[in-house]
Each structure stands twice: as C-alpha cells, then as structure tokens.
Symmetry: none
Subunit: 147 residues, 2 copies
DNA sequence: CAGCGCGTCATACTTTCGCATGATTTCTTC
DNA sequence: GAAGAAATCATGCGAAAGTATGACGCGCTG
C-alpha cells in the first residue's frame, strides 16, 4: 500500500518537474494548456485505474460470492474452509472441479494458467486428504465445503 | 497488462487531438487552465475507473442450483439407467467412480481387470455425454442415476 | 443356428492429472 | 521494513485416465 503511494507521488513529482521544464524551454504559452490537460488526464486516469482495481474489484468479488448461493449455506462453507485451512481460491477451484471441468477449462474460466490450477488443486487435495479429483469432490461434500 | 497500456496510450492520443481541436475552435475563451484541468481530471478519473473495473477485473461466475430429489431411490435409478441405455455393470462401475475410486481400485473391487473398467467407463461416459469422470458423476447425479 | 447384447480383456496411443520444486509478486501484519 | 500468507506461473516427470480397435465367450431370441 505504501509502495503504491510512494510510486504515485514520485510520478507526480516527475510530472511537475517535467512540466515546468518543458514550459520554460520550448513549449510555451499556446500549448501549455494542452500539456497541462494531457498530464492531468494521465494523472487522473492512473488514479482512476488504481482506484478501480484496488477499491472496486474486491467489492465485485464479494458480490460474486454472496449472490450465487441464494445464501442457505455460506457461513458453513466458510467455516469448513477455514477449519481445513483451505484458501478461498482453492475452494473456488474445487467448486469448478466438482462441476466436472478439466484443469484447462478451469484455467480458462478463471483467467489463470493451467499450472496454477494444478497447484491449487494439489494443495486442496492434500488438505482434503484426497488423491484424485473425484475423491476430493466427495470429501468436499462430506465436509460441507461443496453444496 | 500490455493491453491496458495500449488502450491507455490510445486514450492519451485521442485526448491530445481532442484537446487541441477544442482549444482552437470554440473553447478559446478566457477560461482558466484550472477549469480545463478539473474537467479533464474528472473525465479521465471516470475513464480510469471504468478501465480498471472493465479490463483489470474481468470476473464472472455462473452458478446454477441443481435440485436432486432423493426420494424414490431404486426404481428411479433403474428407469434412468434403462432410458440412457446404460447397462447394470456400467452403472455399478459408475457408482464406484463416484466414490472416488481409481480404475485400478474399481477393478480390484469387482475382480476384473483395469482395462475392463476403462472400457465400461468409456462406454458409460459416452452415454452420459461426459468426457471426464468428474463430469460423469455430475451428470449421473443430475439424471438420477446416482444418489 | 445365427445374430445380438453384454461382459470381459488386450494392445497401443494420446491426453490429462497429480506431485515436487522453485520463483515472483502482492498484501497483510506486526 | 521484515516476515509470512496467498496467488500466480513454470518445468519436468511419472502415473492415471481416456480413446480406438479388435477379440472371445455366454446367454438369449427370432
């Protein structure tokens, strides 16, 4: 968090410097407004993107989780997940496994590589004491992880 | 990441053009730079947020609610089995698949070779329209084949 | 009896899984 | 600001799973 702020401030300083420099040297009066505009635009577009990713994305994620289930058993999943030390991402992938998707398809669905899916799967299987995906799905349902 | 940069640069170019155009045509009035700045800032902050949410966090989740009624258990299995043209042996193996057993374990359980299990599995998967055992289990439950 | 469905098995081949290991990055937390 | 958790990705390897094809025996049935 501090890192972003730092980089951000640094960029701002660079911009200011650059702006003054350019203005005082070769891009004088008539273009100054344009320059200012561009710089401000860049600055605020960056801020907007930053805000969008940092602040709005998590909210969207929460919506994803809470909307679909119609909320009969959400806290239960969470409790079971927590108890087993399974991360949210792992559970997410486990759910797709239970839907019969291959690792490749899961990767495409979640926009991550197949390798990543495999990693999550392995960890989840390990935590579930399962050695195959079918077994993992079964255990997941038994333990209240999956509906 | 590259995509965003590209779009970002594009937006920048568009802005420069637009800005110069507007400046030389109808907004040359004596508005202060600050007003331009604020307007552009607002505009691009919004754009940035839009970009951030649109491009950097494209996530969706499709969740369905399947309702497997588990009341009449045996006759229904038979009916579904018959309807799908699945033999008893195939269903038997499918049940063990759903229990998370490997082909080898199934073979040992039923005293047949692993190859035989594979054959039955392939045929059953084909009749279920499944390409993976996890998918087959899911379809089996949806169709009332498996409890 | 000839044909058919079913169960059994094999061989060969391709694809997918699962495991181990290590690296990088981001975020949180103390 | 150091440390840990979490997510991401890669590579390599062996083990499963899945596909295709052919074959054999058994029981039923027209």
């Amino acid at each position: 968090m501090r890192k972003q702020v730092l980089i951000f401030g640094l960029a701002g300083g660079v911009l200011v410097t650059l702006l003054q420099w350019t203005e005082f040297h070769f891009v004088v009066l008539e273009h100054s407004v344009a320059i200012y505009g561009v710089l401000i635009a860049i600055l605020f577009a960056g801020t907007g993107i930053w805000l969008g990713t940092r602040l709005l994305a998590p909210r969207e994620r929460i919506v994803e989780v809470s909307v679909p289930a119609a909320v009969p058993s959400f806290a239960k999943d969470e409790a079971a997940r927590e108890r087993l030390g399974i991360t949210r991402r792992e559970l997410e992938i486990l759910e797709l496994v239970a839907r019969g998707l291959s690792n490749r398809e899961i990767g495409e669905t979640l926009f991550v590589s197949e390798n990543t899916v495999k990693t999550h799967c392995s960890r989840a299987f390990d935590k579930l004491g399962a050695r195959r995906r079918t077994e993992a799905v079964l255990r997941g349902k038994e333990l209240g992880l999956l509906s």
